[in-house]
Every structure is written in C-alpha cells, then in structure tokens.
Amino acid sequence: MTQGNHRDLAQLSLEFLQARHRLMGYLVGLLGDGYTAEDILQETWLRLARAHEKGVEIEDVIPWSRGTARHLVQHHWRKKGKKHELVNSDLLDLVDMSFEENEQNEIDGSRRDALRLCLSQLPKNSLSLLNMKYEEGLSFKAIAVKLERSPSALMMNLSRIRTKLGECVERRIRFEEFSWT
C-alpha cells in the first residue's frame, strides 16, 4: 500500500492548501483569469476529495491536482464553444513541463509581502486594470470596450505594469537583504 492511502483527507487538503499559490499560478497562467482560475481550483479540490473517497491512491498532491486542473481547463475551453487553439496544443505540455521542472520555484513569503506592498503603491488606474484582468477575469477585448482602448495597447500597458511590479519586488527584496546589524 502506498503512502497515499494512509493519508486522510485532512492531510491531503493541507497539502493542497499549501500548494494553492503554485496551482493558482498554473491556472491563472493557463486562463489569464483569476476568477475562473479560483472556480477551477475549488473544483480540483472537490475532485481530490471525491478521488480520496473512492480510494484512489494519490501519492503526490501537486502533480495530481495540476493534471486534474489541466483537464478542467480544457473542458472549460471546450464548453465555451469557440474553437480554442490551446485545447489540444502541445504548448500545454511545455507549460506543464515548465511547472514540473520548477516545482520549487515558489514565491516565498518575503516576495509575496514585497509584491503586496508594490501593489498597494501602484496608481489607481494600473491597479484597476490588474483587477479587471486578474480578478474579474475580463478578456482584453472586454476591457478595451470598457475603457475605449485598443486590446493591443492594453496588453502592452499590462506588460509594462507587470515589469514595473517585478522591478519593485526586486528592489524591495534587495532592501530586505540589507542587514541593520
């Protein structure tokens, strides 16, 4: 019997919660939409609980959850009706590979704090754009209509905001590295 069967649902749930940020990174990366990503993350946990109930051996929660999440994302794309280029693309395998190879590449607590601080210091309009994209899950086309801008200009704008955030986080981390002792 493998270790998987010995673990109870509470233990699996804890591991799932600990991997929440990583899984959200994967899902938001695939979907570009935090709202749907959150839904799929919850559905993934439900599937995990059901699988455990049925006695399925889950040795490693993260790859299992990522695999399930990927199927759910593909299902979501199919359900939307429109032919989605990524549904059967081998690019998805490359994305999976990037997560498998960098399993330990998790933004640690200090980076998350730095990101939180940098976010809080963004101008309102930048924060608003990030919210529309990552929290409300609007497509660039929908945001473009709302703001009367072109989708490509918004895409570039968002890319600039992400770069600025990345620089801000690095700057904060460098400050954190400085010891006062």
């Binding site: 990366g29 979907l31 939307k80 210091q121 929290e135 703001l147 992400r162 955030l165």
Partner: protein, 355 residues
C-alpha cells in the same frame, strides 16, 4: 508572453507565431522565465482578491495621484442638518477641529515652497516623522521631501525615500537624516545618527552623504552607512560600484565592493573586507553571528537551523549540502531580513572561503 496571452484568450494566432513560442520554450532557462511570469500572475490574482475591491473609474491613460491617507474630512449634510442634537453638535465641532487641523497640516506640508524637492516618501513602517520648519509631522505616503527636511525614525520605524532621479534611500530604525540644500551642485544627505542604505542611480553630479567626520561621494552604487553616536562609530559598507570616502573632506579613499570603511573614537580610520562568517569548502563551519538562523544554498531546499546559543554550523550528511566557491547562499536572520551571499575564496592555501 504576448503570443501566449493571445492564445489563452482564444484569439487566432498564426502557426508561425505558435512555432516560435514552442521553439522559445524548448530552452530550460526560458521555461523557467516563463514559469516565473505565470507564477507572478497567479500571485497577483490571489493578492488582488485579498485587497479592497476597486472599480474601474479611471481610464488607463489618465495620470492618477498615488493614494494618500485621508487627512481631510468633510462634513456630511446629515451631520449639519441634525445640529440640534447635542451629541451631533459635539461631533460637528470635532469634525470641524479635525478639518481645521487637517487643512493646517496639509497647508504646512504641501505649501508651495522654493526649496528644492529631493524625493518622496515611498514606504514606511511605524511612525517616522518629517521635521520641517521646526515642526515634526508624521510621514505620509508620497509626501514630497524638500531640502532642509529632517527625517527621524524611532526604534520601531523605518522610512524609504525615492529621490527625484529614481535613487532609493532606506532609513533604518533610530535614525536621523538631514536632507540638505543643493550647493556646489551636489545633493547632500547628512546622517546624524542611525543607519542608511542607498541605491543610487548613475548620475552626473555626485550625491554626498556625510556624518561627523566621514563624507561619502557617490556617482551610482549600492552601499550602507552607519553612524552610532555612543562610540562615534562611522561606517560605510559598499556592496556594488565605487564610492570615495574622505575624512573632514580630506584624505580621499576609494572603496571597492565588499569593503568597509570605519572610524571609531580613539581608533584609526580603517578599510577592511567584510567577512562576517568563515566557511570551509565542502563543510560549513564557524558561522560567527549569533543571530544567524538558517542558511541554504540558493535554489535548493536544504536548510540548517542554528540555535542562538550555538551558532556553529556543521555539515549534515542527511542534507547533502556542500557549499562550493561561487555558490550563492541564502541566509535568514532571526532578528533581521534575508540576505543572499556569494561564497568567495578567502585563503587559497587552505581553500577556506568567506561569506
């Protein structure tokens, strides 16, 4: 990333662009960069959902002033209409007082001034103060710091200032910094006491940082300064680039990265390499600071916990960690922030290394 963004939005992307993305992702390094970007998006999504919700009222092009704490308050019509209730009258008076104070405060701090703007408050912890015209005001975000201001922190506060040229200044706890006027075409900061860390953008005119005796001339670099009143310690630790240090504005000394220039009462001026810990290649030994808690090779998960009482660190076979020269180590302090330190050869004869 743009091709990926368009793909996941369900847009039609040419086979050529898709192939180019596949080609790019065939490199392990690129996959790492790609995953970094996706993880950032994931964290953004989680953090944004934790922040107070914002509605998209502003257009993206419209410049928006960074959020300021609500210092001014307005009287609501309801409050004025119901003046005949005594408790509300008290409320009205209090609100008026707050309004008056706020206006005075804002007026004092934001009044037009011919004094040069040095930078703005970027972030702070605790309750740092900005002293202007002999009055101490609590620091607020985006407050413009002008020549002549004195920034003061207590033991529980720090303050970050972004200078006009994008340089960054981090004032540590228990510190006092005087931002002086621009004379001789140089900006001058005077660290009266405490500690200061700076990341100075490359500049034409030098930035001068002075203490009682030492003056540091900077043209773009990263360094830390400490000024302790009790024993007259004045110290400069250069992390990157070059700075020159002079005593009483004479005897100029050039510092190399990693060097510390120090002056204490009763002791001669010295320049030394900062070697706070020693480490042997293949083994980890003699970690001297007692506040060191955890040390790990960058990119690996192994970690070592060090008790305060016994900071000696020995190689643990179960963690199969062998530090090698050139390796970066992440060090976490019990009382302080993380640091990434680079292992450098210390003594080629016995192959010991320093951190």
């Amino acid at each position: 990333m743009e091709t990926w963004t368009r793909l996941r939005e369900g847009e039609d992307v040419s086979a050529q662009d898709q192939d180019a993305l596949k080609e790019w992702l065939s490199s392990k390094d690129h996959r790492r960069t790609f995953q970094d970007g996706l993880m950032l998006e994931g964290h953004l999504s989680v953090l944004l959902s934790e922040m107070p919700h914002m509605t998209a009222k502003e257009t993206v092009d419209e410049p928006v002033t960074p959020t300021m704490p609500r210092e001014t308050s307005t009287l609501s019509p309801t409050l004025i209409d119901s003046y005949h209730f005594p408790w509300k009258a008290v409320g009205s008076i209090a609100a008026l007082l707050i309004l008056t104070f706020s206006l005075y405060y804002m007026g004092e701090l934001f009044q037009p001034s011919d004094k040069e703007i040095i930078g703005k408050v970027f972030a702070f912890d605790g309750n740092p103060k900005v002293e202007r015209n002999s009055v101490k005001w609590p620091a607020i975000l985006s407050l413009k710091s002008r020549a002549g201001d004195r920034v003061v922190t207590d033991s529980n506060s720090h303050l970050e200032l972004e200078l006009e040229d994008g340089s960054l200044l981090w004032l540590g706890p228990n510190s006092s910094l005087l931002v002086s006027s621009d004379f001789e075409l140089s900006q001058r900061l005077r660290l009266e006491s405490g500690s200061l860390h700076l990341e100075v953008e490359k500049r034409q005119q030098p930035l001068l940082v002075s203490m009682d005796t030492m003056t540091i001339e900077v043209l773009g670099t990263r360094f830390s300064v400490k000024h302790r009143i009790s024993d007259g310690l004045e110290q400069v630790h250069l992390q990157e680039g070059r700075v020159s240090v002079s005593l009483q504005e004479k005897h100029e000394h050039l510092l190399e990265p990693g060097q510390v220039a120090q002056l204490t009462k009763g002791e001669p001026f010295s320049i030394s390499d900062k070697t706070p810990f020693k480490i042997a290649e293949g083994k980890v030994l003699s970690v001297s600071p007692t506040h060191l808690k955890l040390i790990e090779p960058e990119g690996e998960r192994h970690s070592f916990k060090l008790p305060r009482s016994n900071p000696e660190l020995t190689h643990r076979s179960d963690l199969s960690f062998k530090p090698i020269v050139g390796q970066n180590l992440k060090v976490t302090y019990i009382d302080g922030p993380n640091r990434i330190i680079h292992l450098k050869p210390l003594n080629p004869k016995n192959r010991a290394t320093s951190l």
